[in-house]
Each structure stands twice: as C-alpha cells, then as structure tokens.
C-alpha cells in the first residue's frame, strides 16, 4: 500500500538519534499532549529491556526508543494496558513497525483499544536475537549502535525475520513516524500518518514543509531489495518445510513448551486448546492410539499444535520473530510461520496490520474468495479419477 503523504517536519539531531527522539517525546509529555508514553527502557540490571509506561518526564530520560532487542512484543504491552477498555488518558506508544502491525491486529480482535492511543513508529534497522543480547549485553549495545549508524540495516547480526523484513518503515496504520532513513546524520523526519499525528505537529507548531521524496526513495529502494531477499529466503524455507515430512522434520526437536505461543502477540487466548483439559486422555485411548502405529510420541500433538496455531494466527502474523527468540531448542519457528503467513495473507489479499479498516478475513464472508482452492480441488479430483 502506498502512502500519500508528501511532506513532513524535520528535526535536527543532537546527541544521537535516541536522545533527539526522547527530547521530542519529553516535550509532548510536558505540553500535556499525552498523559503517558509507552516505550522500552533498559532494566535495572542492564541485561535487557522492558516496556515502561511513563508519565514522569524525568523517568523518560532513561528510556530508549530504539532498543537493540524486542524481548516482549509492544502489542502485548499495549494489550495489558487496554484489554479491558480505552481508559480516560491519552497515551503514545513508541514501537517498531511490526509492533504497530500486531497492535492493529489485536485491535481487530478486540484485545486492544486504540481510541486513546497514538501509535508512533520508527524506521527500524532490525532487532538482535534475544539470546545473543542476553549473553553479552554490552556487545549487543555496541553491535546495535553500529547497525543503526551504518548502511546495512537488517544485516546478519539481526534476527532472521528482520533480515528479510519489508515492513520496516511507515505503515498506513501508524499515526506518527520518525523517519531515520534520511541519508544524512543531521536531521530526522517527523511524519504525520493520521489526524492524531497531524495534531502533534500542529500543537507543537511544527509545519510539515519538508519534502519526503528523498526519504521515500530510500525506503522504497530498501523495500524492493528486502522483498527480493524475502522471496529468496522463503524459497529455501519452502524446500525445508513443504509436505508432511518437511513439517515433521522441522518441528522434530519441539519439546511442546508452547513458548512460541506465549510470546506471540497474536495468540491472545488465555488458554490454548492444546493446554486445556482435552490434553488429558484415557489410558486405554492412548494405548489404542499407540498400538495402531506401534509407538506414540510424547508430548502428544506436538506437531498438530503448530499446524493448529498456524491456522489460527497466520493471517495476522507480522513476522516479528518473537516465537524464534522464545524457542529453547532453536527451531526456526518465525521463518516457517512468516513463510506460511505470506501465503495465507496473499490468498485473502490481506496484509496484517497495514490497514486499520480492512476486516480480518476470518471475520467476514465473501461470496468470491480463495479461488485458488478450486484449482487444487479440481486437480485432486482428477488425480482420484
């Protein structure tokens, strides 16, 4: 989807990008445009980041709008704030584009209320794998600094899904955006994506007078490259996972801990079906099942779980990679799910988290959809006859 915004405001960078954004956010708090800002902050031990909702502008000094890692998906933090209602106060959430997308999906699923939330995004250079960072936080900080200031965004120090992410910049669903890909280190761009965003600029007496053409060109070029890399990578993933055997193999080391599901911003069920009482089975039934094949693998339904999860959430998958970060046995969950998600979303001409007004495919009925399936059915019928 193209964005019809041609102009933004520019902000001179002083003492680094992070600091410049923080000073700007601080002024929004002080001017009472927002009652609080949801933003990552380094934890006291310095070995990771957490989401903090900040009202006190002095505390905001310690926040970081560009954290090297994404330990918790921002949409989850937003869910814990607004699951039960929109509240009375106005908040800004400063997030990566994939976190904005997940928030929009959760809003469609009624798990997040966005009425009083202004979604602010940044051009995202990618995030480091969580385990790389926690092993050596200092090195992680340095590596991310190099990544951010360099030309090689989404390089191989970032998560595999970040390396092939084609949604790293302003989305139609964001209210406000910090454009970092300006090609020079002196200014960053402030871009209003909605009326809420325009209000920020106008109450701040900033005029959207700077052309975005140059920035857009850079973003488009990078998007094009990333799309190609994504297609290439997913061709490899396809080879790895296609068919029943491929699926069995890729998840064969799964221990059934369901960390992927718990870390996933889209999987919002309090209790997954696969964790429910249904998983307790009568011994005779288990034995019968085992006897049919000679043996039975435990935990039961390890792979079925992944297929089930896929069918439930792949239409809303935003390729944030939290599932891979959370997997204790290093299964490339995120790559597999992203690959499938691209296919299912394409089938329904849907792009998760891009358009706030587009209905979730599972929430609507169309007389005319999934045409591709007819072809498969016909093919299957031919094979049978």
């Amino acid at each position: 989807m193209t964005i019809n915004i041609s102009k933004g405001a520019s902000l001179p960078i002083k003492e680094g990008i992070e600091k410049t954004i923080l000073v700007f956010l601080k002024s929004l708090l002080e001017d009472k445009i927002f009652d609080g800002i949801l933003i990552p902050m380094r934890v006291p031990a310095g070995d990771s980041y957490a989401w903090i909702l900040v009202k006190d502008s002095l505390i905001l000094d310690k926040a970081n709008p560009l954290a090297p890692v994404m330990p918790v998906q921002g949409a989850k933090a937003l869910k814990s704030l607004t699951r039960k209602g929109k509240g009375n106060l106005k908040f800004a959430a400063v997030m990566r584009p994939c976190e904005i997308r997940a928030s929009v999906e959760l809003a469609k699923l009624n798990q997040v209320h966005l009425e009083n939330i202004t979604l602010m995004s940044v051009d995202c250079p990618g995030a480091l794998p969580l385990s790389d960072y926690t092993q050596n936080p200092q090195k992680g900080e340095e590596r991310f600094k190099t990544l951010l200031s360099g030309e090689n965004w989404g390089d191989d120090s970032t998560k595999p899904v970040c390396q092939v992410c084609d949604h790293f910049s302003l989305l139609p669903s964001a209210d406000f955006h910090f454009g970092l890909l300006t090609g020079q280190a002196k200014t960053l761009l402030l871009i209003a994506g909605s009326q809420k965003g325009e209000q920020i600029l106008s109450t701040h007496k900033l005029s959207a007078s700077v052309s975005l053409a140059d920035w857009k060109k850079r973003v488009d070029e990078r998007t094009k490259n990333k799309k190609k890399q994504r297609a290439d990578r997913f061709r490899e993933v396809q080879k790895q996972v296609e068919g029943f055997d491929g699926l069995l193999q890729v998840f064969s080391s799964c221990i059934g801990c369901h960390n992927c599901q718990s870390a996933c911003p889209i999987c919002y069920c309090r209790q997954c079906y696969f964790d429910s009482e249904v998983s307790k089975l009568d011994l005779d039934f288990i034995l019968q099942k085992a006897e049919r094949r000679g043996s039975l693998s435990f935990p039961l339904d390890k792979r079925m779980f992944h297929v089930g999860r896929m069918s439930h959430m792949s239409l809303s998958c935003v390729s944030c990679g939290l599932c891979s970060d959370a997997c204790p046995v290093s299964i490339p969950v995120a790559e597999v799910f992203s690959y499938v998600a691209d296919q299912t979303q394409h089938t329904f001409e849907y792009k998760a988290g891009e358009d706030r007004d587009a209905d979730l495919p599972i929430q609507q009925y169309r007389l005319d959809e999934i045409k591709g399936i007819e072809k498969w059915v016909r093919k299957a019928e031919e094979v049978e006859s």
Binding site: D35, G36, V43, P44, A45, D47, S48, A50, I52, L53, K55, D56, I59, P71, K76, S80, L81, T82, R83, K84, K86, G87, N88, L89, L130, S131, Q249, S252, S253, I255, C257, H258, N259, S262, A263, R270, Q271, D275, K280, L281, D282, L283, D284, F285, I286, L287, A290, E291, G294, S295, L296, S297, F298, P299, L300, D325, A326, C327, P328, V329
Partner: protein, 364 residues
C-alpha cells in the same frame, strides 16, 4: 541386600532386552521410554507397544525433553501396567503430582536409575550429544560429575531413586559390561522372574554413590552462594528484570499442574482506569505488570515440591537461572516443614495440612 537381576550386557542393552521381554511376554501393555525420533538427532519420550519399535529406545540417554511426570499425569484409567523408565527427579515430581490427585502410581511399573544427570539442551543440538556420551558414561561409572549437564543436576543429591519398583544401578558400575536391576517390590520381582534368568542378592555401589553425593553437595553450596547475594526484592529485580513473561518456566514445571494459571486468567487483567491511577501515583509502570509477583506466586505455590529437575532454566528465553533460584528457595521452604518432595507418597504436602505447632521461628 536387595533382590537383583544381573544381565551380562551393557546397562542400556540389558535394560532394553528386559523391557522387550516384558512386552513380548505381555507382562506390560506398553513401554514409556526415551527414544530416538526423527532424523535430526532428536529424542522424545515414546509409548512403545510394538517390540519392533524397541530398536529406537534409548532408555538411559542423559536427556530430558520434558519432565516425564507431566506426561505420566496425562494417563488416566487403567489396564495392564505400563513400564516407564524415568529419572529419579521425574519420579519425585510424579509422586508430588500423585499427592495432588494428578496421577496414579499403580498403573505403572516404575523403572528408574542412579542418575548421572542430563545434558543441557544447548549441548545436544545437531548431534553434539553423541560425541559427549563416552565421557559422560565414564564419569557415571567412576562417580564423577560430568560437564555439560544441567546446573541443577550437578547439584542434585537425590540421584538414587526413592520410589522405583526397579532401580538400574549405573553410578559406580561397569555399565559397559553388566546391567544390574535392583528389585524393590513384589511386582518387580514377579516381572523379573518372567525374564527367565536367576535372581541374586546384591548391593549397590554405595561408596561411589556417597562420593558423588559429596561432590554434588559441594556444587550445590557453590551455586547457592552465587545467588545468595541477590536476596530480597532488589535481588529479585536484578535476577528477574529481564523476564519476558512467557511463563515457559511454569509450562514445563512438572509441579505446576494448573490448567490455567491465575496469572494468565482474567483475575490479573486490570481495568485500564486502575492502571491509569497507578501511573498517576507512581510516575511510571512496567507493562505487562506483575513480573516479580508471578515468580513469588509460583514460588509460594510449588517451591516445597520443587525437585530441581531444571526444566525451567532450560526453556527460559531470557537465560534466567530459574531452576537454581527455585531449588534454593524450595530447599529452605521444604526444610521449614521437615518435608522432602517425592520422598513418600503418604507424606502430605505442607500446604494441605494444618499443624498447631509449626513455623514457630516466624514468631521470633
């Protein structure tokens, strides 16, 4: 002196033969054991009913993909017993679950072994485990702590099974030449007789076992000392600050058997207005909330039953040494009540009984 069945084969081969014979002679209706699965050097627990499938069984492999107690508690209803080969801490955890009406010991023939510990997940990826096995078995044979096993295994004193029907003696034994099965119950003796070889009276390698226990105790003190400096609320913030709230620790914990944890239920969803008023009074809030509270809640619910299996540390995406912390706390809380998890199925869980005189030190 216990009744003992000695099989002149390596421990794993001998045990596999024994299991196979149980299945062939219809003594059991199935075997629950670790086995090779898939093609990527992966291992899982399998319920085997066809003797042909015994070729994949590796009952003594030092690996714990899940705490087996969790799986055994899914089995409800009875037929003929199932033989299960599980580690001592899995057995202890299962005993704790039985006390909580989450399982049934009678439906199993429980085979356990003097345990040398299990490999860490990261040490087993991509076939690394096979390379480490010779060194591991050498250490087990000589009663030494191996490298690459879980920290809580290195610190585990309860590596001799407490409740098994049959104990395979590994620590201090010539495991490449002989398989010694110690038979503790009538059920076990009856099954062993069906194997068709004479039983004898023997003793376990108690000297080596004692030596290993001393090493393990020293290691335990060492681990506990390390986290000792991080006591109190500040310490917890240091340790658990990086928690991502995935609750993976709870999911894999054999003791945490609740189908839905309170912390994941609607009870812990706050009204947006309540969060807002808290923000107004504090100036800043961490979201999602209750990071430390979750740990404290879990500690208070299960710590005295913690068997130190180490699953929680293995699955923690944030590399928090959860198991060491829980083992350390668990030992202290259990001692308060003279309790040892998994020791005796008749011994009631402390929170389920009322004693007029207890926790007297708290009064001081």
């Amino acid at each position: 002196m216990d009744s003992c069945l000695k099989i002149k084969k390596s421990a794993e081969q001998g045990l596999s033969d024994f299991l196979k014979s149980l299945l062939e002679k219809n003594e059991v209706s199935g075997l629950f054991t670790l086995r090779k699965s898939g093609v990527n050097h992966d291992f899982d627990y399998g319920l085997i009913t066809d003797t042909q499938m015994m070729k994949d069984a590796i009952p003594l492999h030092p690996f714990m993909p899940v705490n087996a107690a969790q799986e055994l508690s899914r089995f409800t209803g009875m037929r003929k017993p199932i033989a299960v080969v599980i580690k001592p801490c899995e057995l202890r955890a299962f005993v704790e679950l039985v006390k909580r009406s989450q399982g049934n010991l009678e439906q199993f023939l429980i085979i356990s072994y003097t345990c040398g510990g299990v490999f860490r997940f990261e040490a087993t990826t991509a076939g690394k485990a096979e390379k480490q096995l010779p060194a591991y078995w050498k250490a087990v044979s000589s009663g030494k702590n191996s490298d690459d096993i879980r920290l809580t295994c290195r610190a585990c004193e309860h590596f001799v099974p407490m409740h098994a029907d049959i104990t395979v003696s590994l620590i201090g034994e010539k495991i490449d030449q002989e398989c010694s099965l110690f038979l503790h119950t009538e059920k076990a003796v009856k099954m062993a007789e069906s194997f068709g070889e004479p039983l004898s009276e023997c003793e376990m390698a108690s000297k080596t076992i004692d030596e290993l226990r001393v090493q393990r105790q020293a290691e335990k003190h060492h681990i506990f000392e390390k986290i000792e400096s991080q006591k109190g609320l500040d310490g917890m913030i240091q340790l658990f600050g990086k928690c991502i709230g995935c609750h993976g620790c709870r999911h894999v914990c054999p003791i945490c058997h609740c189908v839905l944890c309170d912390f994941e239920s609607h009870l812990f969803d706050s009204e947006t207005e309540i969060i807002e008023s808290e923000l107004n009074s504090k100036g800043a809030l961490r979201l999602p909330p209750d990071t430390i509270l979750f740990q404290l809640g879990r500690l208070s619910h299960m710590s005295f039953s913690c068997v130190g299996c180490g699953m929680c540390t293995e699955v923690c995406p944030a590399a928090i040494p959860v198991a060491s912390i829980f083992m350390r706390t668990g030992e202290e809380t259990a001692q308060l009540f003279d309790y040892l998890p998994g020791r005796d199925v008749e011994e009631a869980v402390p929170i389920t009984v009322y004693k007029e005189k207890e926790l007297s030190t708290l009064g001081e």
